[in-house]
């Protein structure tokens, strides 16, 4: 709970009904997905509750956010901002923290059709943006977390890979003008948005150096460096006819598949051929989706229940699956893309099992277009998290996957993670094959303490492997302990990160649990 004086101060900003420091609300906000194994890694009881915030505040404007941050500086309280709030990165790292739930900031501020961007507040989901921009034949990049997640959070603060990355890139690279409440309470507007006269959203860089470099890297600061209140994000052409009609009833809606969309499921058989195929196909710049995943995962993305997964043996026997979805605006384009695929399949000696051995439900196409495939990861055990997360070349990704197999197998044999034949991975292409990322979705049972411990230990060992075998930097290297551990192997980047934190958050009010603190060797 907050001291009365402090509570009153917050109430004056947002109104009594928009701040709550009661036991019920604050406890509820202490809960999140995967906190149980984060706790275990921090030698705490592996329960799905983090530190309990002092209060939860619901601001509705940038100015309110600014005032809240100023108050936090005044009273020495940390803050943690969250939007749709999926994942342990939304949790306070201490109990001297208020959570800023940005739910009331939910506007689509501007859709600029001619300049191909949209400006949104934090609590606008990817799906909400997509349906509005589809009206103009445009599309938004959505992260693997799914269309229900905050698009702003993905673009400014979290990760950013997505199933449609071959055509829509990565969240971090799609950011334009950004409105950012710094931990000091200043409102920083990046790029052309920072012009004193006639500011606008189309550029997030300069003048001179780009402060987007401070804002985030491969992953974001996860509320460790202030609050992003509005962001302009690039839009892309909608890949086919934007008519989107799903009839019938849940879950197996009957989707009216657009004319010019087609899926391919190819078995590349070996890692070497998978790499070759991935690169070759992506060079042709035709894919809307181009992803590799394990056969188990492929079965999952075509299934809507665990039981229905069992009847997909044709897919389950694939060794190195590659899923490609092509989509086109015109028949000419579609014919061309199909021709290219036919040619490539001949060249690479690959066979499409879709149409011959397997036909997906129409809903699969709806989910491809709505970027909802990642959600299928929960089907098997109800819980999963991704180990790894590095991004560079296809070769690196596949090397990592291959080297990970014996490690993952070890934990499968312990019975603490689900058996996906140790090959569970998701790898996608970016920007027509210019780079690739991979991650290893690992299914565990969050209600089983041994499973929680197991997945935690697996992830730690996986991180160690990546570090020592030079396999790149996985997603979740965050927090003082990990940065201090990894920094010396990566040009002592942690020292620079710490300086950034020191300069931009001198009072340490932006919760640094998933970022870095300014003090060497410990969080503030």
């Amino acid at each position: 709970m907050l001291d009365k004086e402090i509570l009153n101060s917050f109430q004056k900003i947002v109104g009594n009904e928009n701040i709550d420091d009661g036991e019920v609300i604050t406890n509820a906000y202490a809960y999140n997905w995967c906190i149980e194994f984060v706790n275990y890694l921090e030698n705490k009881e592996p329960i799905p509750f983090s530190s309990i915030p002092k209060a939860v505040v619901l601001p509705s404007t940038t100015e309110e956010v600014q005032k809240i941050v100023q108050l936090c500086n005044k009273y020495g309280i940390q803050f943690k901002a969250q939007s749709t709030g999926l994942g342990p990165w939304n949790q306070p790292s201490t109990d001297n923290c208020v959570i800023l739930d940005l739910r009331r900031m939910n506007k689509i501020v501007k859709i600029d059709v001619k300049n191909l961007y949209v400006v949104v507040e934090p609590y606008v989901s990817g799906a909400q943006i997509q349906v509005e921009v589809m009206k103009y034949g445009l599309n938004i990049h959505m992260p693997g977390a799914g269309p229900m997640a905050s698009a702003l959070a993905s673009h400014t603060s979290m990760c950013g890979p997505g199933f449609t990355s071959p055509q829509t890139g990565h969240s971090a690279r799609n950011v334009l003008g950004t409105e950012w409440v710094l931990p000091t309470g200043e409102i920083l507007r990046l790029g052309s948005l920072g012009l004193k006269k006639e500011s606008d959203w189309y550029s997030g860089d300069g003048p001179g150096p780009s402060l987007r470099g401070i804002m985030r890297g491969w992953v974001g600061t996860k509320s460790g460096l202030g609050v992003f209140t509005r962001v302009a994000m690039k839009l892309f052409p909608y890949p086919c006819d934007a008519k989107y009609i799903a009839e019938g009833h849940s879950p197996l809606y009957d989707f009216q598949i657009p004319d010019f969309i087609r899926a391919y499921l190819l078995d590349c058989r070996t890692f070497k051929h998978l790499e070759k195929s991935f690169l070759r196909i992506e060079e042709e710049e035709i894919a809307f989706i181009c992803s590799h995943m394990s056969s188990f995962a492929v079965m999952a993305i075509f299934s809507y229940s665990l039981e229905s997964l069992m009847d997909k043996i044709a897919i389950g026997s694939m060794k190195k699956p590659l899923i490609i979805v092509i989509a086109a605006r015109t028949k000419r384009e579609f014919d061309y893309k199909q021709k290219v695929m036919d040619h490539l399949m001949t060249e690479l000696n690959l066979t499409n099992i879709i149409g011959s051995k397997y036909e997906p439900e129409s809903l699969f196409y709806a989910e491809c277009l709505r970027a909802n495939l990642g959600y299928h990861g929960f089907i098997a055990t109800g819980g999963f998290q991704s180990a790894k997360g590095q991004c560079d070349t296809a070769a690196l990704c596949l090397n990592t996957e291959r080297k990970n197999i014996p490690l993952k197998q070890k934990y499968i044999e312990k019975g603490v993670i689900a058996n996906d034949f140790a090959e569970g991975a998701w790898m996608t292409s970016y920007e027509s094959g210019h780079y690739f990322h991979m991650e290893v979705p690992t299914m565990f049972d969050q209600t089983d303490v041994e499973s929680v411990k197991g997945v935690a230990e697996y992830m730690e060992e996986s991180n160690q492997m990546d570090l020592l075998q030079h396999l790149g930097v996985p997603f979740f290297i965050e927090g003082d302990k990990m940065h201090d551990e990894w920094g010396p192997y990566l040009m002592n980047y942690h020292n620079w990160l710490r300086k950034i934190k020191e300069k931009f958050d001198p009072n340490g009010v932006s919760d640094s649990g998933c970022y870095i603190s300014s003090k060497n060797g410990g969080s503030s």
Binding site: I25, P48, L86, G87, R103, V124, M148, Y253, N372, I417
Partner: protein, 439 residues
């Protein structure tokens, strides 16, 4: 949901927030993407379906106590079930059932229902209806010229709200059955509350008393079919009663009956009703009106941590609610144009009244109704139609408060018009209402 399942399931929420939205592939606009009236109004995460699962877990772990703060959050929910539909699109959690169980536990601790809900429960106990109206007046709605057949095997269970508040619906239902030559009877003063308003508050003991009374009454009369014009009563009898006590008679909603009568030609809709309407799916006629199916299968461990159900366990996804019958009826009405809202069928947005919210949190009920009314307005229709007296009351309150130009009719009233008969509401309506909105 039994205790064992409850204890397991409350640990499984991944806080994905899918429960706050209608199924992702059904989202058609930013404005109408959300599913949950509670969190739409109150904003804090615990108000969502997933949020309540977290509350259940925190409560079981002793992290939170049964306080008014907890009670208020848990009861600020119409148990519309939209969260469950969204979740079960892919997952197997039951946010609605978890929340109902939590309510039961709070009642057990003396921390529920809400005082206003307790008041109407007392009224039900005393005078058999939640409105605290004299029991004798329950049959006041019956027009003199309505034909009732004491020997009929079809029972029209009117329900409290139609009997006392929405008499026009009961009259319309009766007249239609007369027109179709369908012999029916009513329970007259043997009819009492179905128990739905009690059940939804978590007071399962009182509810079971009511349930047994009702089933004893009906079974003693040799009834073969019970038909309801109230979605709440219908859902309670069809879905909830059999979980406690099975019965042999068939249950139908009037839309199902009327659809059959139209299909068979016993009702001929010949009068032109040149209006544009949008249909609001009542939660208790739609997604919640899907029966639980018995499952006698096995849980087969497939591998460590992964078990499957053999055969697959039926999952109530809202797909078997009554959606087609009312739409078929509307499409058969000459001159009528049906314009759908964005959120329909199993992902329809709640009217806001259910589960005692109208009594305990009237501002929430009204706010939710107004949201739904705005969605109806945006459909381009002039009239919003539904098939539940509770939706009727609340939506009409919303229309009034919003000063909307929309008009509300029950589907039975539109059928009357198509039959060339005049609904009660129009008999009482002002000229302006009549001529501007209907003819």
């Amino acid at each position: 949901m039994d205790e064992e399942e409850y204890q397991k399931m409350i640990k499984r929420c991944v806080r994905c927030s899918v429960c706050k939205w209608i199924p992702q592939v059904q989202i058609k606009s930013q404005k109408y993407a959300s599913a949950c009236p509670a969190i739409d109004i109150y904003n804090y995460h615990p108000y969502s379906g997933g949020g309540k699962i977290i509350l259940a877990l925190a409560y079981e772990m002793g992290r939170i106590k049964p306080t008014e703060e907890l009670r208020d959050i848990v009861y600020k929910c119409t148990v519309c079930g939209n969260c469950a539909v969204a979740c079960k699109y892919m997952n197997t959690l039951e946010p609605l059932e978890i929340m109902m169980k939590l309510r039961e536990k709070l009642v057990g601790e003396g921390c529920g229902p809400m005082p206003q809900q307790q008041a109407y429960i007392e009224a039900i106990k005393k005078v058999n209806n939640p409105y605290n109206e004299p029991h004798q007046k329950r049959t006041d709605w019956i027009p003199n010229d309505l034909n009732l057949d004491p020997n009929a095997k079809l029972l029209y269970y009117v329900g409290c709200t139609s009997s006392y508040r929405r008499k026009e619906m009961a009259i319309a239902a009766g007249r239609i059955m007369n027109k179709a030559g369908v012999p029916f009877n009513i329970l007259q003063n043997d009819e009492i509350c179905c128990g739905s308003p009690i059940l939804r508050t978590g007071d399962t003991n009182t509810y079971e008393e009511i349930l047994n009374k009702n089933l004893n009454t009906i079974e003693s009369k040799g009834i073969e079919t019970v038909v309801f014009s109230c979605a709440g009563c219908y859902d309670t009898f069809k879905v909830d009663y059999p979980l406690t006590r099975k019965y042999d008679f068939e249950v139908k909603h009037t839309v199902e009956l009327f659809d059959e009568l139209i299909e068979s030609g016993r009702l001929k809709l010949t009068n032109d009703v040149p209006i544009s309407v949008t249909y609001h799916d009542p939660c208790h006629l739609g997604r919640n009106a899907e029966r639980y199916e018995d499952w006698d299968g096995d849980v087969l461990p497939l591998m460590p941590l992964v078990s499957i159900n053999i055969p697959p366990k039926p999952k109530r996804t809202g797909s078997k609610g009554i959606y087609d019958a009312p739409r078929k009826i509307l499409k058969k009405i000459p001159g009528l144009k049906l314009k759908e809202m964005e959120r329909i069928q199993e992902y329809a947005y709640c009217c806001g009244a259910g589960a005692g919210v109208k009594s305990a949190f009237p501002e929430m009920a009204l706010e939710t109704a107004k949201t739904r009314i705005e969605e109806a307005e945006d459909s381009g229709a002039d009239i919003i139609v539904s098939a539940c007296p509770f939706c009727s009351t609340n939506l009409q309150d919303g229309i009034k408060d919003k000063k909307s130009n929309l008009k509300y009719f029950d589907i039975s009233e539109l059928i009357l018009m198509a039959l060339g008969l005049e609904p009660e509401k129009l008999k009482r309506a002002t000229e302006e209402v009549v001529y501007n909105n209907v003819r």
